[in-house]
Symmetry: C2
Subunit: 209 residues, 2 copies
């Protein structure tokens, strides 16, 4: 059936479009997690999602286009930032969220597949950077509030603090293979908070100002 043709009595296009996107992205995520980017085939995604091939090719064009949209969706679906009133607690919540994602079977495989794809595909690399931009920006107010509360100095680079929380967990996933457990998450959050309080993440630009 060609889902591109609206039929009498069908739901409004907006709703259908959203449902098509949801099905396609779910299948794309499953295939990526299972077999990686190199084997992501738009025709197979269309068939498994029960969506017309034409729709998938017209809307997403390439595997990289599909992964890019999946990353947009993942950023949109991600949980909102914490707001506990304390930087260390906010960073702990962030670290636990990242650790949970990177230890979930499907999500962990999905991230590894997308990060691997980004190493050899510029469009995917750009989409991945946008994903992390969105997530880092979502959590930026935690650091800004800590500046207002006087927990960390003015001029602290929120993006650097939040990257410092995620980075050791990604390093375990992609490089050292060390376990991503609760102790690792706690250490990552505490190290970032302690260093931030000591002024380590005040940018050189802010120091000069």
């Amino acid at each position: 059936m060609d889902h591109d043709i609206a039929w009498p009595g069908s739901v409004r296009p907006g709703g259908r479009t959203a449902r098509v996107r949801e099905s396609v992205l779910e299948v794309a995520g499953d295939l990526l997690a299972d077999r990686g980017f190199a084997h992501l085939d738009l025709a197979e995604v269309a068939a498994r999602a029960g969506v017309g091939k034409t729709t998938v090719y017209r809307r997403w064009r390439t595997p990289a286009g599909l992964v890019g949209d999946l990353l947009v969706d993942m950023a949109e679906q991600s949980l909102p930032r914490a707001d506990t009133g304390s930087l260390i607690e906010d960073l702990m919540a962030n670290a636990r969220l990242v650790a949970k994602t990177l230890t979930d079977g499907r999500q962990s495989n999905l991230f590894r597949a997308v990060i691997a794809a980004a190493t050899c595909d510029d469009a995917t690399a750009a989409a991945l950077r946008t994903f992390y931009d969105t997530r880092l920006t979502e959590w930026t107010p935690c650091v800004e509030a800590a500046v207002v509360r006087g927990e960390v100095p003015a001029g602290t680079d929120a993006r650097a603090v939040l990257s410092a929380v995620s980075a050791p967990l990604y390093y375990r996933l992609l490089a050292s293979g060390d376990p991503i457990d609760d102790e690792a998450a706690e250490q990552a959050a505490k190290a970032a908070a302690v260093a931030a309080a000591a002024g380590t993440f005040v940018t050189k630009q802010a120091q000069r100002a």
Copy 2:
């Protein structure tokens, strides 16, 4: 010419074997950096290195076997640890070394290719973990000496401290795309040193002891 056959007057086998390995690994590294793991072909490596195909297949068997040996060689060729007498200076040297590697065109591509390969190939993942094991172990005495000097508390997990230095630089390379510059290297080293001094990397096990 079949290099498997020793000819009269040729150098002793040990020297030739070492030279063959060096040529093969250099070509393998070039090809990986240029085109990634998926396109690494043993026959092409043999041809470009001017080495018999049989030698290459017999010694390295698979592309993953070749990458594994390349990582062993990279770990062996890596610079020795710093020994400045101060933890922050040692970590700064470590961070600058990692940053230099990850911003060098060939090395950066090579690491990205190998990390990407490790996400979908278990043998490469194991070889990559061994590489980081070797490097982290090489630098462990810097943290142990800092414990002796009283710069960081006893029970500090050297591997966690050193991972904390590398991690933000790898996160920039693979995830956020933020620049890996001198400020990033300095921040990574300082954040790890400050957190280590505050006891953040004392393991729970050591805390209980």
